[in-house]
Amino acid sequence: MRLGLIKRLTAVIMRSNSMEEAASKKRKGWIIGFTVFVLLFVVFPVTVMTGIFTHIVTAQLAAAGHPEFGVKFMYGIISVFSVVFGINVIFNELYFEDDISYLLPLPLKAEELVLSRFLAVFIGENMMQFAVVIAVVTGFGTAYPMNVVRWILSIVLGFLLPMIPMAVIAILGMLLMTFTRFIKKKETVRRISFVIILLILGAGAAMLLTIDIGDVVGYIIDGTVRNILFVRVLDVVFPQTGLIADYMARGSVLSLLVFIGLCILSVILLALAAHFFYIESVTRLNETTHVQKSASAASASVTRTAGMTLFVKEMRMLVRTPAFLTNCVAANFVWPVFVPIFARIMKADMGQGAVAAYFTDGRHKTAALIVILAITMVTAAMNCLGSDAFSREGKGFDYIKFIPVSYRLQWNVKTAAAMVWTLAGTLPFFLFFVIYARFDVLTAVLTLVMSCAASFFVTELGMLLDSLNPKLFWLDALSALRENYNTVFCMGITIASCALLCGGMYLFAVPAVSAGAAALILCVADAVLYLLGMNAGIRNIKQVGE
């Protein structure tokens, strides 16, 4: 193996995955501004909260003789996220990025190829979670003293945290691709990886059901003593979190060495697996990508209006591109799963009578409205239907400009396509509260207006951001969404404005007033955003590529 080559390959892969340089100075300014904004209002709060949480848990449990537990627990959770995101990303990186077909003919060893792609993913994922890891180490270190060496090593170990689970996923992935014959198309594998993600989420949710205590810190403290299922499972699945925590809390050199040994071993195993399995499985996959049939009607005589045909095309691209299907469409329908889970956690009586009675109280009703608003806005930002509306077009973007359809109509069609999916996923909540909890007509109507206005707000905001600097140079659809600043900025602004609105709503005790106020504010904001979109947004679109 040529290590220098792996290093250079990794750098190339990371560059080709990242967003293109912003064209003009003006756009660069925007991007820097937004990055600062997101750092301040999203990354910073999450990090601080993680740190404080770790600090409290560690401080309380150190007295009971379990100083390692806070770190172990947090690292367990972080590892779950590594796995959930890792599956999709690693599968994609090893098997579905289109640049693989350019790399395969080069005189590279399989292990060089795999290790460099793995490293690119590892570093990319770490960028996102390293801030949280630092927060955990800091939270721990301020509650339970460590010397300088241990501080430094703790941070290094935190950086290595996702190494083992990601290597295991990569190895299992290669085995799966080599030894199972039922995967013939890349679409199939993508769906399977999506199902695995759902299963893991479901398992996590099921384990959360074992929680029967309201306050989380107390629950965790209690959990260490009673050794509950959730924590036991984390221990078994991610033994490395225990090793790191053991080193941090007790300075155990043995744990340190075992952990580093495991990391090295996992990389060696990965290289071996790559050596024996990768080329065979990846070439087999490439051979079969052409087999594809569609049962769509073989007729040319169905005519549609320009707007309708654009809408249909938009829908087809969303549903047929696996990365868009999972991230933009299916993502809208994940939320309903959490309703019964939260109900269980809160130990709520879910009989309709009890629910209806509970929500006769104005405060409770307002709380429900806040939940509806927050879910609508976060879902709309998360599905990035607005914020990747133009990025999604990729190399085909030019058609927007040469077809004889006004930019306004095209803009509206994109808005409509985004709203349809967002509302399809979020309106069930609204219906749940209206029907099941028997909201009065006025509140119901105002809530509906509020939901639609919120969904429009986020979509329009996203499109406006995406029109500034769409990410058009991608080979693989998933990279249109990944590391796309526009979606990150959109999420940041959405969370901030959602927090403001929800905070404001909480001040009103009369639900109809708070829903009405939120609806009014959102409608005004919508009008402003729409005007901006129709003018500045379309001006931006015309500028793309010039």
């Binding site: 769509s296 169905v302 095309k313 591109t321 077809i403 004889p404 010039e546």
Partner: protein, 244 residues
């Protein structure tokens, strides 16, 4: 008819000049070939003509409609084929052709008829159109793009390297279709690297190099007296002179 008046376009705040004060007219009934070395500015000029990018200065008029003032009217007249056929590959051939037909408002029975005609010209089984374009070969995609572009029977054809990837029979048929289209009083402008194609089918050619039009006129005028009438030698000499 295509009228380009003093078109200029530079990228990266003037660092790269892709089109430098380009003016020409493609009259009705004419096939015009656009040739030049890689990076000369052919694609950029064509994108300006089709409204994909706006020129820094100058104007484009298509059959009397100014692209800057009446973009929708101008675009409706044009059939444009991009230099890469990898668009919308998730759609089936039919879906893509129908999409374009809807966008340009072609009635159902008319499009059926035209698809049949073109499919025959290009030797394509119509069952292929029921499959997604991800499974098409490069040439099949190119043919599907051409059919989708021509299905609205545009008056002005603007084709960026349309012959790339076509088999000899299809390329021959496309050339014949261009001739027929021009003979009906329409305009065809296409770019190519293949001098023989330009020589055979074009009424006039334009040679572009480093963003400048260095020749426009008939093939005959170009050939008389120079280099024994060998287009390749003339082309190489002209572009070399321009570099110097």
């Amino acid at each position: 008819m295509i009228e380009a008046v003093n078109l200029s376009k530079s990228f990266n705040s003037g660092a790269a000049v892709a089109a430098d004060n380009i003016s020409f007219t493609c009259a009705d009934g004419e096939i015009v070939g656009f040739i030049g070395p890689n990076g000369a500015g052919k694609t950029t000029t064509i994108k300006i003509l089709t409204g994909i990018i706006r020129p820094d200065s100058g104007k484009v008029v298509i059959n009397g409609f100014n692209m800057a003032e009446k973009p929708l009217e101008a675009k409706k007249i044009i059939g444009y084929i991009a230099d890469s056929p990898d668009m919308f590959v998730k759609l089936t051939g039919y879906e893509y052709i129908n999409f374009m037909a809807d966008v340009y408002g072609v009635p159902g029975d008319v499009r059926e008829e035209r698809i049949n005609y073109f499919a025959e010209q290009f030797g394509m089984e119509k069952t292929v159109f029921s499959q997604r374009m991800t499974g098409y070969s490069h040439g099949m995609r190119q043919k599907t793009m051409i059919i989708a572009t021509l299905v609205h029977d545009p008056k002005v054809w603007i084709l960026d390297e349309p012959m790339v990837g076509l088999d000899p029979q299809s390329a021959f048929n496309l050339k014949r279709m261009m001739r027929e289209h021009a003979d009906k009083g329409n305009t065809v402008l296409f770019s190519t690297h293949v001098l023989e194609i330009a020589e055979k089918v074009c009424d006039r050619i334009m040679i572009i190099d480093a963003g400048k039009l260095i020749y426009k006129g008939t093939m005959e005028a170009l050939k008389t007296g120079e280099e024994g009438g060998d287009l390749e030698k003339i082309f190489l000499k002209m572009t070399a002179e321009e570099q110097a």
